[in-house]
């Protein structure tokens, strides 16, 4: 479904690389977690897929089509994107925010209204209660639900998420993670999700790619990463949640 071949990105004419020779693929209906410290190149990798950044070398295919050969705006309209800073349009109502991409795709008004109703129901914000409000009148969790609804509104097959739940409080975060996982399964979405939270990656992702300093150290299922880490760093970051779970266990059963 999505395939990266020897993708590299340099912001300084190939002196240093933010992304070093990355190749991986994501299957249809799969959720790939892209994890690493800040500055490791995971967001840059994500942005190259919908051409918010252009790769310096290598190529990226979606459905066997080279994204560099597609019109970037048309490409982005067909890929859902959930932003780290949520990035709702403050001057649009919730309905208008969700309708943004279908409007760009010239859907007719009835179709857009029906789709807004459907998708806002799906994220638990009924249009009759929330449609006319402004983003500033919603809580952080509700805003990110709208962010998810906006990304899904035009029925994309592929969704890119950049630390989508990072800004939320822990309870809301868990709630949204579970909900999104349900939606993703239901709609069989192909998702790449950037995160720095290993627990989030382990619980949500079908496979996880661990990045460090622009390089992908290992790609595998959560189980593979835990059982056979290929790298010291991978071992370290997958053990962290385990250690915390052990500590909790000790607290509960001393």
């Amino acid at each position: 479904m999505i395939e990266l071949r020897n993708v590299q990105k340099s912001f300084d004419n190939d002196s240093t690389f933010a992304v070093v020779d990355s190749s991986f693929s994501v299957e249809r209906g799969e959720l790939l977690g892209l994890i690493g410290e800040s500055g490791c190149g995971k967001t840059t990798t994500l942005k190259m897929i919908n051409r918010l950044e252009e790769p310096s070398h290598g190529s990226i295919y979606i459905d066997n089509q080279n994204v560099l050969e597609r019109n970037p705006e048309e490409l982005r309209r067909n890929i859902g994107y959930v932003f780290q800073g949520i990035g709702l349009f403050p001057h649009y109502s919730i309905r208008e925010n969700v309708a943004a991409v279908p409007t760009l795709l010239d859907w007719n008004a009835e179709h857009i209204e029906a789709r807004c109703r459907e998708i806002l129901d799906l994220v638990g914000l009924p249009i009759d209660d929330f449609g006319d409000r402004r983003p500033s009148q919603l809580s952080g969790g509700q805003q990110q639900r709208v962010g998810v609804a906006r990304a899904l509104a035009a029925e994309p097959d592929v969704v890119l998420m950049d630390e989508p739940f990072g800004a939320l409080d822990p309870i809301t975060r868990v709630e949204l993670q579970e909900e999104f996982k349900r939606i993703q399964r239901e709609l069989a979405l192909t998702v790449i999700m950037v995160t720095h939270d290993m627990i989030e990656a382990l619980l949500m992702a079908d496979r996880i790619a661990v990045m460090k300093k622009g390089e992908i150290l290992q790609i595998g299922t959560p189980r593979e990463l835990i059982n056979s880490p290929a790298h010291e760093y991978v071992k370290e970051i997958v053990e962290m949640p385990k250690r915390r779970a052990d500590n909790l266990e000790k607290l509960m059963h001393p």
């Binding site: 918010l52 970037p72 800073g85 349009f89 009148q137």
Partner: protein, 506 residues
């Protein structure tokens, strides 16, 4: 209601219309130019710096200077066009600056999101950045609107009608009612525009909930409609105003207003339709008449002799008059109608009691003590060649040479703040303030015969020439001084003085 106030209020519709058209047309053009420039600047650092510097520099120019420069650049054209150009130049800074600031303050997250969902650069600008910058842009327009209303009063100086007509005429004819009416009217217009635009700004900042959005859109549409209808109506009526047969011009002081009133009354009586352009500067009115934008006005022989012919000698009253008459015809293609009969000379004047105290009768008497005296001149005198001639002829200079607006100059000598002023011999205020004209036995000061100069096109009309020619040599020094006195001292209107003159001529 007193007569003076009623007379002023009768002028209100015409001045209001002029002022409104100037303000709104200038503002509309200013917005149409400045917002795109601001957008351009926000996209390119190469453009931003030079552009913001340029509009800031324009702003630092004195507004009167901008007006004069625009008139000069347009080759002496006066009226709406130069006034609007100057106002547009002046109102650009706050709009350009606020457009740039407004666009720059839109959050990067929101712009990134707009790109990420597939908006083109143009869509990002139109659908996201401009709407979010709107409150700040409107704030800039609001500032520009208030400035423009204020500055539009100066348009009077280049012959465009505005509330400035009240203010400048009032200042020169010591009519405080007129000054007050003009200032209040401009202030009310400024406050009204400010609150209309302020309301829009408030609505654009508080677009919460559907009702408010709808109200905002309704208010927006309503205000824009009202403004558009108002402007198009005003412009239409200005354009559709029956064209005047002749335009009578005048500089900005009492005697000029009176003679312009006299010319207008005489020509209208003969059935001509007349427009007036009053309060024009010396340079502007000469150019405008040469271009045919003014058809007739009162000039002074000495002014042309010194300012335009650059002569410094004084060959005598008659020679100057003849040579100046030839000059305006041959050099600038205008028509010399002839002298009216009175002179308006520059003369040194003192309070009678002060002159007696110091024993001064002539400039010669002043020589030994001149360096202890404080002199006040009008805006021009100490910059004119005749001051040099006077200084060199008598070999005198004063302790201080101050420059005043004419009306304030007379007040200053009356209060004893200055010893000597450069008065005008036909000025009614000489008697009113009990001043003594200091004799000039060595004839250093130039003769200033009042003479009518007409445009080439107007001079082709025989009836016109017959009427204005009929005024030649009909107004004596005493008659003119009395007419000036009626306005400056007795507080009468220009119409009163015109009626007096017409009575004397008959």
């Amino acid at each position: 209601m007193n007569d003076n106030l009623r007379e002023q209020l009768l002028l209100l519709p015409e001045y209001f219309q002029g002022h409104l058209v100037l303000t709104l047309v200038a503002l509309a053009i200013g917005i149409a130019i400045s917002i795109p420039l601001g957008i351009w600047a926000s996209q390119s650092q190469m453009v931003k710096r030079p552009l913001l510097t340029t509009v800031s520099i324009i702003q630092t120019f004195p507004s009167v200077a901008i007006l004069a420069l625009v008139v000069a650049l347009l080759g002496g054209q006066i009226g709406l066009v130069p006034a609007i150009i100057a106002l547009v130049l002046y109102c650009m800074l706050p709009i350009v600056r606020n457009t740039v600031t407004g666009l720059e303050t839109v959050s990067d997250d929101v712009v990134e999101a707009a790109r990420g969902i597939g908006m083109s650069s143009r869509q990002i600008l139109v659908k996201v950045r401009l709407p979010l910058a709107l409150p700040i842009i409107i704030a800039g327009i609001r500032t520009a609107a208030v400035w423009t209303v204020g500055l539009a009063t100066l348009s009077t100086l280049v012959g465009a009608t505005s509330f400035g007509n009240y203010i400048f005429t009032g200042l020169q004819t010591r009519n405080l009612v007129s000054v007050t009416v003009g200032s209040l009217a401009a202030a009310i217009l400024a406050v009204t525009l400010d609150s209309i635009i302020g309301g829009l700004q408030w609505l654009s900042e508080n677009q919460n909930g559907k009702e408010a959005v709808l109200k905002f859109k309704k208010a927006w549409v309503l205000v824009i409609t009202v403004i558009l209808v108002g402007v198009s109506f005003s412009v239409y009526s200005l354009l559709n105003k029956p064209a005047a047969d002749f335009i009578v011009g005048g500089k900005g002081f009492t005697e000029q207003y009176i003679i312009a009133g006299l010319l207008t009354a005489e020509l209208e009586e003969a059935g001509f339709k007349i427009d007036q352009r009053l309060g024009l500067g010396t340079e502007v009115i000469y150019q405008a008449t040469a271009n045919g934008m003014v058809d007739i006005y009162l000039e002074y022989s000495g002014t042309v002799w010194a300012n335009r012919m650059n002569e410094t000698s004084n060959p005598g009253r008659q020679t100057v008059l003849t040579k100046v008459g030839d000059f305006v015809q041959e050099n600038d293609g205008m028509y010399n109608v002839g002298p009216l009969g009175f002179q308006n000379l520059y003369a040194l004047a003192m309070r009678k009691d002060r002159a007696a105290e110091l024993g001064i009768e002539t400039i010669d008497d002043m020589i030994p003590i001149a360096n202890t005296l404080v002199a006040a001149g009008d805006l021009e005198f100490f910059g004119r060649p005749e001051w040099i001639t006077l200084r060199d002829t008598y070999n005198i200079d004063f302790a201080e040479k101050l420059t005043f607006d004419t009306a304030l100059m007379y007040t200053a000598v009356d209060r004893g703040q200055v010893d000597i002023i450069t008065a005008y011999t036909s000025d009614g205020r000489i008697d009113a303030y009990n001043l003594k004209i200091i004799a000039d036995p060595r004839n250093s000061l130039l003769p200033y015969d009042g003479m009518l100069i007409a445009s080439a096109s107007a001079a082709k009309n025989p009836l016109f020439l017959e009427i204005v020619g009929g005024l030649v040599n009909r107004i004596s020094d005493e008659t003119m001084r009395e007419a000036n006195r009626i306005v400056d001292v007795n507080g009468g209107s220009i119409t009163d003085a015109v009626n007096y003159l017409r009575g004397m001529i008959r």
